[in-house]
């Protein structure tokens, strides 16, 4: 079963992250690199990406003529996707365990940041409905 683990954060949280010390940033980046390797080594890795920051984010809607209308000023409380992992595991419990590992990524001073990780199932093809 495939799951996506999503790291979401508000704009304010991104701004705080930008002010972390060099040491804290290095520790966090090192953790993320090791975490992805861990997923690969254990044979559950499918994909991972980090996303650009919210200040560059735009919401696009089609105008009446089909041309893009962009919107870029967002409420401070809005959450943005910072990055994600897609994993292929035996079931939800294993996905939760892996998400908890990601959540324990080191924050300032090396204590676990305990970031919320949103876990969602990636839909598959046909399951047998039995009808």
């Amino acid at each position: 079963m495939k799951y996506i683990l999503m790291m979401n954060a508000t704009k304010a949280e991104f701004d705080v992250y930008a002010k972390w010390s060099k040491e804290d940033l290095q520790r966090n980046v090192g953790f993320m690199r090791a975490f992805s390797k861990e997923l690969k080594d254990s044979g559950v890795f499918v994909a991972t990406e980090g996303l650009g920051w919210p200040n560059e984010a735009r919401i696009v809607r089609a105008g009446k003529d089909g041309e893009p209308i962009t919107d870029g000023v967002f409420a401070e409380s809005k959450e943005f996707l910072a990055g994600y992992w897609v994993i292929d595991v035996e079931g939800p419990e294993q996905a939760y365990k892996i998400a908890a590992r990601a959540s324990a990524a080191p924050g300032p001073g090396g204590t676990p940041a305990r970031m919320p990780i949103e876990v969602r199932q990636v839909l598959s093809g046909f399951a047998d409905l039995g009808l």
Partner: protein
């Protein structure tokens, strides 16, 4: 049926030969992980050389010899390394000769031993599946990765970890003891069943290019049956696969939408596969050792033999589910049994059984509970209730086509409800 690029006679031959060659190499060198690598190299050599040079007289002996040589080379370089490191060892001189003397009687056993090894209960199910497809099925890591929609490096890692687990758990290269045999065979059948299911439940519509796992599962189960022709449950599993797979084309429309059994165009069903499945299960059942796969195959056969959905012999299906329910503790079986009860004794009786399942934590939150309840509520004329449960099921399913189907059932019923309101 879409043609697979991987369906060439050469690749078919290599897949058939893989377990036989691997078995011979493991038997000789007793190192499963290294033997598996050596055989993969031999297969690669064959795939590149044979198209140009033509088939050797004895393809199996050719492959075995190449794999033996790889193993010997590896052992020699390993002992050379150890000598360089100051260890006095003479392994190289003890390395087996590269001549191929294959004990014909051991050959068939070897394939079975491999299968029991790959499906060992010490492995996780996903490891067992990957290892079985590679070591017994002869698929490449790339093909298995593609079939499961994961990167090749991930599948390679999964296979290498599985091989490591085989090594660590010290599973001997021999057939299970008589005491273990029944349980170990159940594990093998379960893995084959899961491979089939993975293929059957995901190879449709835009995913047609995937290696067809269900066809692969049928091929593997067929070869297991040839090796253990007296086991009625293997025959039952093979029959179940054939009878289910026979409906594959009718299961979706041209838009890739799911069509339930009762609405399928039965003219599209594969008659030859149904005939083979029916013959298999008819021969297996009278043998007396009836198990769950045989019963499920018998149920599939009753469905497949009905010319129209309304001709389905539901009392017989109900009788078969009664037996199956006594044999297994699977709540999904209870759910299917409830449908059969509804078809024979009316939806109210079926709904009572579905309600009783709410107390079972294993299915209480399963989308099929809601889907079946919706279906039975619709049968009972409770459209409001049916809409509610179709939508609840849609919110829980892990399958996109299924979610579309469930939402469309809810939409269809609510349109009908509006029309009724307007008429009143």
């Amino acid at each position: 049926m879409a043609e697979r690029p991987s369906d060439t006679p050469l690749e078919h031959l290599l897949r058939e030969l893989t377990p036989q060659v691997l078995g011979a190499v493991v038997r000789r060198f007793r190192d499963f992980a290294a033997a598996e690598d050596a055989v993969q190299e031999a297969l690669l050599a064959a795939a590149t050389q044979w198209p140009d040079e033509g088939l050797p007289d004895n393809p199996r002996a050719w492959l075995t010899q190449v794999a033996f040589r790889r193993m010997t080379d590896q052992i020699r370089s390993e002992s050379a390394r150890r000598r360089r490191e100051g260890e006095i060892a003479l392994e190289a001189s003890r390395a087996p000769e590269t001549t191929t003397t294959i004990d014909a009687a051991a050959e068939e056993d070897d394939t079975l031993v491999l299968l029991f090894m790959c499906c060992h209960p010490a492995l996780t199910l996903s490891s067992a599946i990957a290892l079985t497809l590679r070591a017994v099925g002869g698929l490449t890591t790339a093909e298995i990765a593609k079939a499961f929609l994961v990167p090749e490096s991930t599948m390679a890692q999964r296979i290498s970890r599985a091989k490591q687990s085989v090594k660590d758990s010290g599973i001997p290269f021999e057939l299970p003891t008589t005491e273990e045999r029944a349980q170990r065979l159940r594990a093998v059948l379960h893995v084959l069943y899961l491979i089939f299911n993975e293929g059957y439940t995901s190879s449709a519509g835009p995913q047609l290019q995937r290696v067809e796992l269900s066809r692969e599962a049928i091929r593997l189960t067929r070869s297991v049956r040839n090796l253990l022709s007296n086991d009625a449950e293997i025959a039952g599993l093979l029959a179940l696969m054939l009878l289910t797979d026979a409906r594959r084309v009718a299961r979706t429309n041209s838009e890739g939408e799911l069509i339930p059994l009762m609405h399928q165009d039965r003219a599209l069903w594969d008659r030859a596969q149904i005939a083979e499945g029916v013959a298999l299960i008819s021969a297996a059942l009278p043998k007396g050792s009836v198990g769950p796969y045989q019963l499920q195959a018998a149920i599939a056969a009753v469905h497949d033999e009905a010319g129209r959905a309304e001709d389905t012999d539901w009392p017989q299906i109900l009788a078969l589910y009664d037996l199956l329910k006594r044999m297994s503790d699977n709540p999904i079986v209870v759910l299917n049994h409830a449908i059969a009860v509804a078809m024979v004794h009316g939806p109210t009786k079926g709904l009572a059984l579905v309600d009783a399942l709410k107390a079972d934590a294993r299915v209480a939150n399963h989308h099929r509970l809601d889907a079946v309840r919706a279906h039975l509520l619709e049968m009972a004329g409770d459209r409001d209730g049916a809409v509610k449960h179709y939508r609840a099921a849609a919110g829980k399913t892990g399958s996109l086509p299924e979610r579309n189907y469930l939402l469309m059932q809810a939409a269809r019923l609510s349109t009908e409800l509006r029309l009724v309101d307007e008429q009143e």
